[in-house]
């Protein structure tokens, strides 16, 4: 037993070493690149980032799009997870499989599918023009399309997280609540929902982190000014060749995501105490 413990301690240290070498070191290098301008220490990139109109605009847009996407995905994801938990136990596996199956395919291909669906010739545009007459509406290449893409991308993560916390719920609690005369709705808000909060926070943490750092969705689904922070960083490094600015953008994005995750973690722990 003690040997096992030791073995796992060693294994843990291996993981720590791995993270240090392959995650922390590159992150430090990114920070170093962002403050080491032409051979001397300078905060010019960060000053530029927070003073120029352009970057603050994109920063706010990134946050806005990620928050909106996360909220929409939470709503849909919760409904889906709740639906699956109320199925008979033998069928739940099938439903979960259905939710996870898109993740086996490359995101590029899935987004391409959305491009076809949302395009002028696509079924959605055709259906809309059939309903409301001939105005040519195309949802593609707009912020709406970006949000749709991100929601699609993060949904499985949210469903899985909420499903696990709903599944752990003692059914006796629900029974007790209904026996004591609470309506179904009240039972949901007073018992089920508070107890599923850990899953909600975990799911939305992952969703937010993925949404805020997405790079592919705006490229494929976004319009002329739907670039998010990750795209700005990419363009800075690859097309403009300004390593320092790209590194600064990446680091600011990382700090923002970590800050949001810390807040989420706090909330989640408070949720645990409540339960």
């Amino acid at each position: 037993m003690r040997n096992m413990m030791r073995f796992y301690t060693v294994l843990g240290w291996i993981a720590v070493a791995y993270m240090t070498a392959l995650f922390l070191y590159p992150v430090c290098k990114v920070v170093y690149t962002s403050v080491w301008v032409n051979g001397s220490f300078s905060l010019a990139n960060y000053v530029n980032l927070f003073s120029a109109d352009l970057y603050s605009k994109v920063l706010l847009k990134t946050l806005w799009v990620s928050v909106i996407s996360t909220l929409i995905a939470l709503f849909i994801g919760y409904t889906l997870a709740y639906f699956i938990t109320t199925r008979p136990a033998s069928k739940q596996g099938f439903w979960l499989m259905l939710i996870i199956s898109p993740m086996f395919m490359s995101l590029t291909i899935r987004l391409f599918g959305w491009m076809i669906l949302l395009s002028k010739e696509g079924p959605i545009a055709k259906g809309l023009s059939g309903l409301f007459g001939g105005s040519e509406t195309s949802l593609l290449f707009s912020q709406t399309a970006v949000v749709i893409g991100i929601v699609h991308f993060v949904l499985p993560f949210i469903v899985l997280n909420i499903y696990t916390s709903l599944n752990r719920l003692e059914s006796s609690l629900i029974e007790a609540s209904t026996m004591l005369g609470a309506s179904r709705l009240r039972t949901f808000w007073k018992v089920t929902f508070p107890l599923s909060l850990p899953g909600v926070f975990a799911g939305s943490s992952i969703a937010f982190a993925l949404a805020a750092s997405t790079f592919l969705v705006p490229i494929m689904m976004g319009g002329p000014s739907d670039n998010l922070l990750a795209n700005m960083a990419y363009n800075s490094i690859v097309t403009i060749g300004n390593m320092g600015m790209g590194a600064a953008l990446s680091f600011v994005l990382l700090v923002i995501i970590v800050a949001v995750l810390l807040v989420m973690g706090r909330l989640e722990r408070r949720g645990h105490i409540a339960s």
Partner: protein, 363 residues
């Protein structure tokens, strides 16, 4: 770990394991940061049996390259293998991503940029059999006037349009026209688009303000600023756009696939698109690398690229069919009619321009 060791020895084992692991991680890191210093194949290079690595652009270009360059070249030089590597941009090359590459294929501005940054090997007249037959536009020279790359294909940057939806555009300004509103695609962060806009708005390098104003104005009615050359294919295919700044080869390929697309050079002129090949300084096989580039300049290869991809030949001695001559960039007149940007003058301004462009289009 099933055997119950004594505590002490196990602890030692754990510590030694850990230190071993840390040591190995550090070696890996050290290896990463000083990559490209190992010699391959024991150091003695024989040109008789060697591999030459050339980066390419992917997609159909790779297929054509394999058919017209790789296979005949290997046949002509027994024992040589040509290996195609994925496109490697200048940012990656600068970070040491070119350690195993001999020949790079890049757009003209990237190649000149790489040359100015000292990554490439100069090319000399006496090393190439095709040198004297090439158009003057086929030489990519650095600031100091030395040649560092040869252009193997010409293209023309103009306007591709859907003749079923819009009239044939006459001027670059037609991209801004109300009838094309919401149905225009331009390339993202692309200097040729900026140059043609400068020409259409009468801006000069000293005062580019009208260009940024124009982009500010046009952005709301642009469907997308696309980031890869292949993007307009699907945009035209789904009817999402009716006009796009694009280049001739891709547009004609789409037209031949029976899609409603045609291509025109606006009255302001088009921009000569050049893709060139250069030899990396760190290549261990420079002679063979130059031989391969020379091979790409021969009429047989260039005629193949013209036939398959509608790219114009850069060798003046290439003979093409009449029908091809009409659509590809072919002949002195056509080449000279297009704007050839002076990249050595533009490159220092590139960062400022692209930043301004980004500011103008982010709304």
């Amino acid at each position: 770990m099933k055997k119950s060791n004594s505590n002490y020895s196990f602890k030692k084992k754990g510590v030694s394991l850990l230190s071993l692991l840390l040591a190995s991680v550090l070696t890996v890191l050290a290896g990463c940061s000083s990559s490209g210093e190992q010699t391959q194949g024991g150091g003695d290079n024989q040109t008789e049996s060697s591999e030459i690595v050339v980066t390419s652009f992917g997609g159909k270009y790779d297929e054509v390259f394999t058919l017209y360059v790789k296979e005949p070249f290997e046949k002509a030089n027994p024992g040589v293998t040509v290996k195609l590597a994925p496109y490697t941009g200048i940012a990656k090359l600068a970070q040491g991503g070119g350690s195993s590459i001999d020949v790079v294929s890049l757009d003209d501005f990237d190649l000149i940029d790489a040359a100015n940054k000292g990554m490439l090997e100069p090319l000399k007249k006496e090393e190439f059999s095709t040198w004297d037959n090439l158009y003057p536009q086929a030489f990519l020279n650095s600031q100091d006037g030395e040649t560092y790359g040869l252009v193997n294909v010409f293209g023309a940057w103009g306007i591709a349009y859907n003749p079923e939806v819009v009239d044939k555009p006459e001027s670059w300004n037609d991209l801004w026209s109300p009838e094309a509103k919401g149905k225009v695609a331009l390339m993202s962060q692309w200097i040729p688009d900026i140059l043609l806009t400068a020409k259409a708005t009468g801006a000069s390098y000293e005062n580019m303000e009208p260009v940024w104003e124009a982009f500010k104005e046009v952005t709301p009615s642009v469907a997308q600023y696309y980031s890869s050359f292949s993007a307009p294919e699907s945009l035209f295919g789904t009817g999402e756009v009716a006009m796009a700044a694009w280049f001739d080869g891709r547009a004609y390929a789409l037209k031949n696939a029976a899609k409603p697309v045609d291509f025109t050079i606006p009255k302001e002129g088009g921009v000569l698109i050049r893709s060139g090949m250069g030899v990396l300084k760190d290549s261990e096989n420079k002679e063979l690398a130059k031989k391969l580039i020379d091979f790409c300049m021969t009429p047989e290869v260039q005629a193949g690229f013209a036939k398959e991809l509608y790219y114009g030949p850069t060798n003046t001695t290439v003979e093409l069919d009449q029908s091809l001559q009409e659509i590809v960039v072919y002949g002195k007149e056509k080449v000279e009619a297009l704007i050839t940007p002076d990249w050595n003058e533009i490159l220092p301004k590139r960062e400022e321009w692209l930043t301004k462009w980004t500011e103008a289009t982010t709304q």
